[in-house]
Amino acid sequence: MSVLETRELIIDVPGRVSGRALSLRIEPGQRWGILGPNGAGKTTLLHTLAGLRAPRSGQVLLDGKPLSQWRRRQVAQRLAVVFQERQDGFPATVLETALIGRHPFLPPWRMETAADLERARDALRQLDLSHLEPRLVSTLSGGERQRLALATALAQQPALWLADEPTNHLDLHHQVAVMRLLERQSQQGAGLCLCLHDLNLAARWCDRVLLLYPDGELCHGPADAMLIPEALEKLYRQRLMVTEINGTRLFLPE
C-alpha cells in the first residue's frame, strides 16, 4: 500500500499568477474526487501528482519520499495514470495494449510471462473487453478505448490510481461498472484520485472531494461537507437544483 502526499504544492498552470498551496494525503482506501470547471487545472494537478509535470513550488511525496527522487520504474510499480487523451502510435492489438501495463515489472531482457498474460487477460475480462482481444485498437469505439486504458492500468495492479475522467465516453452501464470496479480497488486498499465532471458520480462514489477554482483557489474535505450547493454553484457559476434519492444527493443544473 502506498500513500501520496502533497506539501505546499502549487501547480504550474500557464498564465496563472497566484494559487493556494495544496497539502493533502491520499491514503490507502480513500476515494478522492477532483472537481472544477474547464481550465481550473484538474489535469495539470493530476499530471503533477503523477510526477509527469514539475510543480511551480512545493513537493509531491510518494511513501514519504519526494517523487523526483524515485526512479520512474519504481513509481510505475505503485501508481497508475489513466489519461484523458491517448496517442495511437503504431497499430497494436487490444491484448498487446493491456500487456504494456506489465512493463514496469519486467526486467529489460525478459519476455512477458504466463502470469503477466493472465493478469492482462483478467483486466480485459473485468472491463468487458475479452471478446476484442485480437482487434486493432484503431478499430475500437471511444468508450471501448477508454475501458482499454482502464484495463491497462488494472494490469499494472497499482496501489494508487490517478484517473482523468475515467468515465469519459462510457455508456451508463459501463460508467457504473467502472465506478464499481474502482470502488472494489479501493476496498482492497488502493488509493483513488479521480478527475470528474459529473457531480453525481462524485456524490455517489467519492468519500473525499477537492474543489479547484479557475483562479487557483481550492478547498478539500469529506465529500458530504464539500458537496453543498453553495460551494458548487460558486465553483461552476451555475445555479443548481438538489434532490435526494435513497440517501444520495443528486445535483441538476437549473
Partner: protein, 330 residues
C-alpha cells in the same frame, strides 16, 4: 497454469532464423554471380581452402568484401529507419528525410571537389552526417519543447538546405569529377572499403537496442503514457537519436547515400511481423542487409560490364513491392 516465470510469449526466433537463412543465401548468390560465374563446386572448393588463384582472388578480394559491405550498410540503414520511426512516432521518419544524408553528401562532395582521396571523402561524409545531427537536434530542442513534429520539420528543412548546397557543389564542379559525385549521391558500393567497422557498429547497435525494445514499444504510445509506465523518456529518446545518427553516418560513409532502405524495410516487416520492436529491430537489420546485398548483386550484373549505382536498384525494387504490400494491407 505453468510456472510463474514460464514465458507466455516466447521470443519469435522463427522469423529471425528465416531471415538469417535468407541472408546466407543472398550472400552466397552475391559471391557466385558476376562476370565470371562460379558454380556450387567452385564455391565449396574456395570456402574450404581450395580452388585456383583466380577464384580465390575473385571471392576473397572482390566479391565477399563487397557483399559484406552491402549487407552491413543495408542493415545499418534499415535499423536507423526503424529507430527514427519509433522515436518520432511517424511512419515517414527516416535518416534521409531528417537531413543526415544531406549533411554527409555535402561533406563528401566538398571533399571530392577539392580532389581529396577516398579516406578523406569518407571522413568528411562522416563529419557531415554528425554535424547535421547536431544541427537538427539542437535546433529542434531550441528554447521551446522537444516534440516529434518539431524534430521532423527541422530535419526536413535542414535536408532542403543541404540539397541546395549539393546542387551548388555540383554546378561548381569540373565535368570530369561529376560522374563520381553523382554515383556517390545515388549510393555506390564499388568503392566500399573493408566492411569490418560497419559490421562491428551494426552488431553493437542491434545488441544495444534489443533490451530497450519493450521500452520503445511503450514509447510508441506517446511520451506521457511511457513515463507513466516507468520509461525514462528523455534519456531513452536521446540515446536512440544519437545511436540512429551514428549508425546512419557509418552507413553513408560506407556506401554513399542509398535511399529507401531505411523507409521501406521496417514498414515491410511491420506489415508482416507486427509492431514489437524486440523483433522489428533485429529483423530490420537482417532484411535491410538482404535487400542491399541482392540489390548490389543486380547492380553489378544487370548491365555488365557497366555497373549501376545500388541506390537506383533499391528504389526500383523497393517502391513497387512496398506499394503493393501497402495496398493489400488492412
Amino acid at each position: 497454469m505453468p510456472g510463474v516465470d514460464a514465458p507466455a510469449r516466447a521470443y519469435p526466433w522463427t522469423a529471425l532464423w528465416v531471415l538469417v537463412l535468407a541472408g546466407v543465401l543472398a550472400m552466397t548468390l552475391a559471391v557466385a554471380v558476376g562476370s565470371v560465374p562460379l558454380g556450387a563446386t567452385d564455391l565449396w572448393a574456395v570456402f574450404t581452402g581450395g580452388g585456383n588463384e583466380l577464384q580465390r582472388d575473385l571471392i576473397w578480394s572482390l566479391r565477399a568484401p563487397r557483399a559484406l559491405a552491402a549487407f552491413a550498410t543495408g542493415g545499418l540503414l534499415a535499423l536507423a529507419g526503424a529507430l527514427m520511426q519509433v522515436l518520432l512516432r511517424n511512419p515517414l521518419a527516416d535518416p534521409y528525410v531528417l537531413g543526415l544524408s544531406g549533411g554527409a553528401a555535402v561533406g563528401a562532395l566538398g571533399a571530392m571537389l577539392l580532389g581529396a582521396g577516398a579516406v578523406l571523402v569518407s571522413g568528411s561524409a562522416f563529419a557531415g552526417a554528425l554535424l547535421s545531427t547536431l544541427l537538427v537536434f539542437g535546433l529542434a530542442r531550441g528554447v521551446g519543447s522537444w516534440t516529434p513534429t518539431r524534430l521532423l520539420l527541422t530535419g526536413v528543412v535542414v535536408a532542403a538546405g543541404w540539397s541546395a548546397v549539393i546542387s551548388f557543389l555540383l554546378t561548381m564542379s569540373p565535368a570530369e569529377r561529376l560522374p563520381g559525385m553523382l554515383y556517390w549521391l545515388m549510393g555506390d558500393l564499388s568503392h566500399a572499403g573493408a566492411p569490418g567497422w560497419a559490421w562491428l557498429v551494426l552488431v553493437v547497435a542491434v545488441a544495444a537496442m534489443l533490451p530497450l525494445g519493450r521500452s520503445l514499444n511503450v514509447l510508441a504510445r506517446g511520451p506521457l503514457q511511457a513515463a507513466a509506465l516507468g520509461v525514462a523518456v528523455r534519456p531513452l529518446e536521446t540515446s536512440v537519436y544519437v545511436l540512429a545518427s551514428l549508425v546512419t553516418a557509418v552507413a553513408v560513409t560506407t556506401a554513399g547515400s542509398v535511399g529507401f532502405v531505411g523507409l521501406i524495410v521496417p514498414h515491410l516487416l511491420r506489415l508482416v511481423l507486427g509492431n514489437d520492436q524486440r523483433l522489428i529491430l533485429p529483423a530490420s537489420a537482417l532484411a535491410g542487409g538482404i535487400l542491399l546485398t541482392l540489390a548490389d548483386t543486380l547492380a553489378r550484373i544487370l548491365l555488365a560490364p557497366q555497373q549501376l549505382p545500388v541506390g537506383v536498384i533499391t528504389a526500383l525494387l523497393g517502391v513497387p513491392v512496398f506499394l503493393f504490400l501497402l495496398y493489400r494491407s488492412r
